[in-house]
Amino acid sequence: MIEVSDLHKSFDQNNVLKGVNLKISDGKSMVIIGASGQGKSVILKCLLGLIKPDKGLVLLNGIDPNSKEKNIALAKIGMLFQGGALFDSLPVWQNVAFRYLNGKRKISTSEARKIAIDKLNRVGLKDSFADSFPSELSGGMQKRVALARAIATEPEIIFFDEPTTGLDPIMAQVINKLIRELVVEMGVTAVTITHDMQSVRSIADEVALLHAGTIQWTGPLKNIDKSKNKYLNQFISGSGKGPIETLR
């Protein structure tokens, strides 16, 4: 269970989050949508404990990621960064098995490699890529490696930050399907932030629309096309007319 209560965050004079409230049940896939610059990534960083909120509370399975128990919370999560954020000094398999090669979960190198290759296969990459370096892979392959790293320790919660940004439509759909398969198969709680409606329809159980620092609408995926919320309707239609201001 993920709970976000009255979350506020400002950067200098810019109030990005003005009281965000969200509840995500276990095993559900929540997609947070919203226009660029509305604070979607800030919510995600607050959830991960990378940014400390000014006010409000975040709980990941009952643990505040901004408290001293941060590492307990982080041990149970996986994260897919927008650009992959793969360590370019390490080969692919060491990226995937990073947690098994370092820190408290350390196991033997051969075991770690075996797990890494298993996870690479799960995201559709052959064993032969294990010893490549991230810079030798295409954008889509890097996303798959990052996905393999996110699921490597079989986390309870996975965060996806703009999982399809920078990918062609075909590869984007492959990644969307892969994410959905993994979420269902592993039974994890997933939080995705995106502004790609194709991703929303492929990944989400529930959708939340963030605008002007607060959640303007939240509900099951099946309701998004029936909603009378003006913000949501404008976002789905991609229209320039509506309450969401556009710059020309």
């Binding site: 991960l48 990378l50 960064f81 954020a85 793969l86 360590f87 947690r99 820190g103």
Partner: protein, 258 residues
């Protein structure tokens, strides 16, 4: 006038904030230094990067510096009929001052820049955030191994540089200044004390610490984009070089003023 005062005040506050950040950063390094986990692979990789791969640069610099020093002292000493001091002054000058300082500056140019650029790029591509989400403290994984490696490797580089510098003086002294091989060597060794060598090595360790801390500090506070990485790299090299020269003065004062 008010604008000038405001600007001065702002600069002073920025300086205080910068120094505060640096002190907190050093404190975080110290608190992570002795607490496991230890990243041995990162440490040995840093030893190779900082120590082994800097050897050619330090060696070549030291050789030519030793040679130039021999020529200068010979020319200067000739004014007082004191040409025979060349071997001892070259040895003492290299070991006490030029070896550590020039070695430190060359390593600063090579290593502080590379550390700042590498960590800065990791910062702007979210690799540092990724480390945190993988339950790994970035200071422990990225900074501590580099600082320990630099503190251990730079004195060794200084020692090698000292030897090559003295060799440079010997080669020039015996081939261009007509010194006898044996006498040059005897004069070099006889006038050199253990403390001369040790003080240079201690300076090397301090300079290694300065170089790695500056590289890591500016890399970790790198702002977004290529411009941020460039700025971090430049700041790391400039600050490491200035601090090395300043620290050299204070260490020399502490070691030799009495």
């Amino acid at each position: 006038m008010i604008r000038l005062t405001a600007r001065t005040g702002r600069l002073f506050l920025e300086l205080c904030s910068f120094v505060g950040e640096l002190i907190i950063f050093c404190f975080r390094i110290l608190t992570n230094l002795l607490v496991p986990p230890f990243f041995l692979r990162a440490f040995f990789s840093s030893i190779i990067q900082i120590g082994w791969l800097s050897l050619p640069v330090v060696g070549i610099t030291s050789f030519f510096t030793g040679g130039a020093l021999a020529l200068q002292i010979y020319a200067g000493g000739a004014r007082f009929n004191a040409e025979e001091v060349v071997p001892s002054i070259v040895a003492i000058g290299m070991v006490r001052e030029l070896g550590p300082v020039l070695g430190g500056l060359m390593v600063a140019a090579r290593v502080a820049s590379s550390i700042a650029a590498e960590i800065g790029t990791m910062k702007v591509t979210e690799q540092v955030d990724a480390l945190i989400t993988l339950s790994t403290e970035p200071i422990k994984y990225l900074v501590v191994p580099r600082v320990i490696a630099a503190v251990l490797a730079v004195p060794v580089l200084v020692g090698v540089g000292d030897s090559i510098g003295v060799l440079g003086g010997y080669v020039i002294g015996t081939t261009r200044l007509d010194f006898n091989n044996a006498i040059y060597l005897i004069n070099s060794i006889n006038y050199l004390e253990f403390w001369d060598v040790l003080s240079g090595l201690i300076k090397g360790a301090v300079f290694g610490c300065i170089i790695s801390v500056m590289g890591c500090f500016f890399g970790m506070r790198c702002e977004k984009g290529a411009r941020g990485v460039g700025q971090a790299t430049k700041s790391a090299v400039v600050s490491a070089s200035v601090l090395i020269l300043a620290a050299n003065y204070f260490l020399t004062e502490a070691f030799f003023s009495s």
